[in-house]
C-alpha cells in the first residue's frame, strides 16, 4: 500500500522467518507449543504482511486465489480422510492407533497428518477472507 522503504526492507527481512516459524510451529507442535491452527494463522499473517508492504496484487500473484479454495477443502478432506482411513484399517473413526504396527507410531502419524490438514485449511481460509476483503477495496 505505502511506498515506505524502511517498512519494505524490514518486512523483507522478517517474512522468511515468519514463514519458517510457521512451519516450525506446524511440525514441532507435537513437542512444543503450537499446532495446525497456530501455524496456519502465522503463515497467513506472513503473507498478509507481504501484501501490506508490497501491495495486494503481488501477493495475489504469489498465492493464486484459484488455488486457495481447493486448498481449504483439501485440508478438511485430509482430516476426514485420516478418519476414514482408520475406519478402513479396522479402527474407530479418528482412532490413529491402527495407522502403524506400533500404536504409538500410529498416533504420531495420525496427529501429524490431521494437524497438517488443519494448518492448510486455516491458512487458506484466512488468506481467502483477506483477499476477498482487499479485492473489493477502492
Amino acid at each position: 500500500m505505502g511506498d515506505d522503504r524502511v517498512l519494505r526492507v524490514i518486512a523483507r527481512l522478517l517474512i522468511p522467518f515468519i514463514l519458517l516459524f510457521a512451519l516450525y510451529v506446524q511440525f514441532h507442535g507435537d513437542y512444543g507449543p503450537g499446532g495446525g491452527f497456530q501455524a496456519g494463522v502465522i503463515f497467513a499473517a506472513g503473507i498478509i504482511l507481504y501484501a501490506l508492504t508490497y501491495g495486494v496484487e503481488p501477493a495475489m500473484r504469489l498465492v493464486p486465489r484459484r488455488l486457495l479454495a481447493p486448498l481449504a477443502a483439501l485440508g478438511v478432506l485430509l482430516y476426514g480422510g485420516v478418519g476414514v482411513a482408520t475406519m478402513v484399517l479396522g479402527g474407530k473413526f479418528l482412532d490413529y492407533s491402527v495407522l502403524a504396527h506400533d500404536p504409538l507410531h500410529g498416533q504420531h502419524y495420525g496427529i501429524l497428518l490431521i494437524e497438517l490438514g488443519v494448518g492448510i485449511t486455516v491458512a487458506a481460509v484466512m488468506l481467502l477472507i483477506f483477499f476477498a476483503f482487499m479485492s473489493r477495496e477502492g
Binding site: Y31, G55, E57, E115, V122
Partner: protein
C-alpha cells in the same frame, strides 16, 4: 481494562481497531502468564494480527467515523449492567482458581495426564488432547473455519481484478488522502 474503556468511548473507528489489537496482545500476555502458551499463540496471531487486519479492510470498505447514536444509552447500559451482575453472581459458586479439588480437575484430566505419555507418546499434552482424544471436536472446528471461508466468499465474492496500473494509481491516492 483501560483499553476496553477507551474502545467504548472513542468515536474514531481507526483508533478503536488499533486499541482492540492492543487489547488482544495484552490478553495474549495474560494467557502466557497462566502457562497457556498454545492459547497465547492463537490470541496473538489471530486477535492482534489477522482480526485487526480484517477490521482495517472493513474500514477501508465503509467509513472511519462512527455516526452518533440516535437513541439514549440508558436501556443498553441497564441490560449490560444486569447481565454483568448476573454473570459475576454466577461465578460465586465456582471453585477457587487453581483448586485441585475442582470438578474440572477430577473428571478426565487425571487420565489425560497419567495415560497420555503411554497412550499417545507426545510430550505436548495439549496436542494429544486436541488431536487425539478430542479429534472429533477438532474436526468440527476445522469444518467451522472452512464454512466461515465459504460464507465470506459467498457474501463478498471476488471482484474482477483491475489492471495493475489503475490499482497503483488508486493506492497512491489513498496514501495521499
Amino acid at each position: 481494562m483501560a483499553t476496553a474503556l477507551a474502545v467504548v468511548r472513542l468515536r474514531s473507528l481507526f483508533a478503536v481497531v488499533m486499541l482492540a489489537g492492543i487489547y488482544s496482545l495484552v490478553t495474549a500476555g495474560i494467557f502466557l502468564t497462566l502457562d497457556a502458551v498454545d492459547v497465547a499463540f492463537t490470541e496473538a496471531a489471530v486477535g492482534a494480527g489477522i482480526a485487526t487486519m480484517l477490521m482495517l479492510g472493513t474500514l477501508a470498505l465503509t467509513g472511519h467515523k462512527q455516526t452518533p447514536p440516535r437513541h439514549s444509552p440508558v436501556l443498553p447500559l441497564m441490560v449490560v449492567t444486569i447481565t454483568g451482575v448476573v454473570l459475576l453472581w454466577g461465578t460465586h459458586d465456582m471453585p477457587r482458581f487453581g483448586d485441585p479439588d475442582a470438578p474440572i480437575h477430577r473428571h478426565v484430566a487425571p487420565r489425560y495426564i497419567e495415560e497420555s505419555p503411554t497412550e499417545i507418546g507426545l510430550p505436548n499434552m495439549v496436542t494429544s488432547v486436541l488431536a487425539s482424544y478430542r479429534g472429533f471436536d477438532t474436526l468440527g472446528e476445522v469444518v467451522v473455519v472452512f464454512t466461515a471461508g465459504v460464507g465470506v466468499l459467498s457474501l463478498l465474492g471476488f471482484r474482477r481484478r483491475r489492471p495493475p496500473r489503475q490499482d497503483s494509481e488508486s493506492s497512491k491516492e489513498e496514501s495521499d488522502g
